[in-house]
C-alpha cells in the first residue's frame, strides 16, 4: 500500500514538473478552440466564411456575377461592441476570399496616398517615358459598397457570462442606393466560472 502511495506521489511530482516547464509551440491557425468570450480568431474566420458563402450563393448576385465582375469598395465596419476589435481584419478576410473566388474586383482607398505619389512621380519627375506613364483620372469607380455593423450583447448571471455577437453586412448599389444583398452571422459564447479557481 505504501509503495503504491509513493508511486502516486512520484507520478504527481512528475506531472507537476512537466506542467511547469515553459513551452513554445506552433498552433493550428484554423483551430476553433475558444479561450474566452472575447472576440477571437475563430470568430473572425467564421464571420468571414459565412458572409462570403452567403454573398456568392445569393441568386441575384450569382446572376450579376455571371455577366461581369462588379467593382466593390469596402466601408469601415461600425464596431458597436464593447471591445476594441481590428474590424479591418474582418473585412480584409472577406475581401481576400471574394477576390480569390474570381467573382468580384475591389478598389482599396487605404493605399490611395501611395498611388497618388507614384502617379505624380510618373507625370512630373521627368524620369518616366510619357508613353508608359499612367495618367490621373483613369481609375474605375466602384459600383457597389460593402458596409457592415458589428454588435454585441453581453449578459451576466452569477458565474455565467453569455456573449452574443451579430455581424451584419450589406451590399449597396451606389447608383441606385438599393441594398442588393444583406446577411448576418450570429455567434454565441458562454463562459461558466468554475467553483474552484479561475
Amino acid at each position: 500500500m505504501k509503495r503504491i502511495f509513493s508511486g502516486c506521489t512520484l507520478l504527481l511530482l512528475l506531472a507537476l514538473i512537466a506542467g511547469c516547464a515553459s513551452k513554445v509551440q506552433y498552433g493550428d491557425a484554423g483551430s476553433a478552440k475558444p479561450l474566452s468570450v472575447e472576440f477571437g480568431s475563430s470568430d473572425l474566420q467564421q464571420i468571414a466564411e459565412s458572409m462570403v458563402d452567403s454573398l456568392l450563393t445569393f441568386p441575384p448576385i450569382v446572376e450579376l456575377t455571371a455577366q461581369q465582375r462588379p467593382v466593390i469598395a469596402v466601408d469601415r465596419v461600425k464596431n458597436k461592441t464593447m471591445q476594441h476589435i481590428d474590424t479591418e481584419s474582418i473585412t480584409d478576410s472577406i475581401r481576400t476570399k471574394l477576390i480569390r473566388s474570381g467573382k468580384f474586383r475591389f478598389i482599396d482607398r487605404t493605399t490611395d496616398d501611395a498611388a497618388i505619389e507614384e502617379l505624380s512621380i510618373q507625370q512630373d519627375s521627368g524620369l518616366v517615358d510619357p508613353k508608359t506613364a499612367v495618367d490621373f483620372g483613369q481609375q474605375i469607380g466602384a459600383g457597389y459598397l460593402l458596409t457592415a455593423n458589428f454588435s454585441e450583447i453581453r449578459q451576466r448571471q452569477g458565474s455565467i457570462t453569455d456573449t452574443y455577437y451579430k455581424f451584419t453586412m450589406n451590399l449597396k448599389n451606389l447608383k441606385t442606393g438599393i441594398l442588393e444583398w444583406s446577411d448576418e452571422k450570429e455567434i454565441r459564447k458562454t463562459f461558466k466560472r468554475s467553483t474552484f479557481g479561475g
Binding site: A32, K33, A66, S101
Partner: protein, 141 residues
C-alpha cells in the same frame, strides 16, 4: 491520508487526459462528376477514424449542387447520442485533378448537435475550380 491518495490519483488522471487534442474522427469525401448522358453524379466515401465518434454521429448524406459555376457541398449528420454533442468540422476542396485548393486555409468551425437530431451543414468551394470536397469532423477540443 486516503483522501490525499485519491487526490494524487485524480491529478495524475487529469494530466494524462488533458494532454491529447482531437484528431479528425470522421472524414467524408465526395467527388462530383457527370455520367455519359450528362446527369450529375456524386461519388462519396466516408471513413470513420475514431470508433468513439462513429458511435456518436453518423454521416447520413453527402450531396452537392452548382450555384452559378461554384459547387456548394451539403452534408447531413445525425446524432446517435441522447445528449447534446459539440463537434468541429471543416471542408477541404480539390479541383478536377485532385489538387488541393484550400488545404492550408480551411478553418475548423464549431457545430452543436442536440440529442438524436440531424443537422445539415454547407460549404462553398473557394473558387469555380472546386469539384471534390472532403468533410472532416472531430470532437470539440
Amino acid at each position: 491520508m486516503q483522501l490525499l491518495k485519491l487526490a494524487a490519483l485524480l491529478i495524475v488522471g487529469i494530466t494524462a487526459l488533458s494532454g491529447c487534442s482531437p484528431t479528425s474522427g470522421a472524414e467524408g469525401r465526395a467527388r462530383s462528376g457527370w455520367t455519359d448522358d450528362g446527369a450529375p453524379m456524386l461519388n462519396t466515401k466516408v471513413v470513420y477514424n475514431s470508433s468513439t465518434l462513429s458511435r456518436k454521429v453518423t454521416i447520413e448524406e453527402m450531396t452537392s449542387s452548382k450555384v452559378g459555376d461554384m459547387l456548394l457541398a451539403q452534408v447531413t449528420l445525425r446524432s446517435k447520442a441522447g445528449d447534446t454533442l459539440s463537434f468541429q468540422y471543416k471542408f477541404e476542396w480539390f479541383d478536377l485533378d485532385g489538387l488541393a485548393l484550400n488545404a492550408a486555409s480551411a478553418t475548423w468551425k464549431p457545430l452543436i448537435i442536440y440529442g438524436k437530431e440531424s443537422k445539415t451543414i454547407q460549404g462553398l468551394a473557394p473558387d469555380p475550380r472546386g469539384r471534390e470536397y472532403k468533410l472532416l469532423l472531430r470532437d470539440a477540443d
